[in-house]
Symmetry: C2
Subunit: 208 residues, 2 copies
DNA sequence: ACCTGAACACCGTTCAAGT
DNA sequence: ACCTGAACACCGTTCAAGT
């Protein structure tokens, strides 16, 4: 008689959390966070609208779980890229991840989820970034300058991803290049001055 | 007898749009976009909950107006910085704006407002960025390389702003420096290779 | 132990009606 | 021309009750 339940036994169907996360991920990627309501989610999953509360304290916690999945994926992709393609490969991978999963990336960095309040999320996010920082620090280990440069590198790829995602980079700037080539070219315009004392270098370069 | 109306004549009180934008800006900066509901806004403004619809087609259009204010402010600050402090000054101004108006900045770049769908917003946003691109292109006018470098420069400051805003940069990385000094030091680790053919330069730098 | 259904306090948006 | 009040179709969250 029921119209939407597809499960065998229906009542306890093994793993509702996983089912919810899968369905939520689909809604997220198709329509964005704002369209991801618990009620729509439970409709798709064929459970009552109160069911998620047995597994997630509130909506933000479910979003936090989705964001955590994203950081895990990004972190892994970065580690693989570091081994296979070096520093610039990591940057291209970062931007590539954002373009391949735009809504997920927005969720991870958009501020809707307060990362600090969700322990598992906080930890997996931190781990993803340690990779980038470590790779850059390893190249030129003069403490503070290298650390600053690693933040600049991260900011560069992060900002490029964000600008492309939001469509802020004009079509004209692409100049007919493929997306990957464009990203590669833009990143190639940058040089890191990690070795030099940052302050002095700044003074030199600024006088233009 | 009315409890909340503070206006003289009350019914048509001159400039409801401006009143709404002022109140909305306050809610935005205090509590963020997600807390900015039209109903809460109308409660504060002392009008009926349907009143905004005489002036804005929907909630997103009101948010678009708030974002447009932000881009106008940012654009102006950038133009002043360009005149007074040169290229690096513009970058510091960009990050400074984001840190001074975090919720506004999030609204401007968070993807909640579809910029392309709001004409006035689209135009003021474009104008704000022409400034940055122009300043960099003027320094080294070799068509494509310079354009790519200007995008990289923008991505750099934008990403740094975003990472600082979301609290993704660990306290430890600051190493006791003031925020302004930290930003300045991070930006100083970067050199632009706008003059050189981007591709060749990339190949050289990559082999590390 | 896990899920449901009714209930509550919110939303955004529409529209006939008021001034 | 501009604003209101009732109405509609949604939300997130809570809680007693069901299996």
């Amino acid at each position: 008689m029921s119209t939407s339940r597809r499960r065998k036994h229906s009542y306890h169907h093994g793993d509702l959390p996983a089912t919810l996360l899968r369905a939520a991920g689909k809604i997220l990627e198709e329509e964005g966070v704002d369209a991801l309501s618990l009620r729509e989610l439970t409709r798709r999953a064929g459970v009552s609208h109160a069911a998620p509360y047995r597994h997630f304290p509130d909506r933000e916690s479910l979003l936090a779980a989705l964001a955590a999945e994203g950081f895990a994926l990004l972190g892994e992709a970065q580690r693989e890229a570091a081994a296979a393609a070096g520093l610039r490969g990591m940057g291209e991978t970062y931007v590539g991840f954002a373009l391949a999963h735009p809504q997920r990336f927005r969720l991870m960095f958009g501020g809707t989820v307060r990362i600090a309040r969700h322990k598992a999320l906080r930890e997996v996010a931190t781990r993803a970034f340690d990779g980038l920082a470590g790779a850059l620090a390893a190249r030129s280990p003069e403490a503070q300058g290298a650390r600053d440069a690693s933040i600049a590198a991260w900011a560069l790829v992060h900002g490029l991803a964000q600008l492309l995602l939001e469509g802020r980079v004009a079509q004209a700037a692409r100049a007919g290049r493929s997306e990957a080539r464009f990203v590669s070219d833009v990143l190639a315009t940058i040089r890191f001055a990690a070795g030099a004392p940052a302050r002095a270098a700044a003074a030199v370069d600024q006088s233009a």
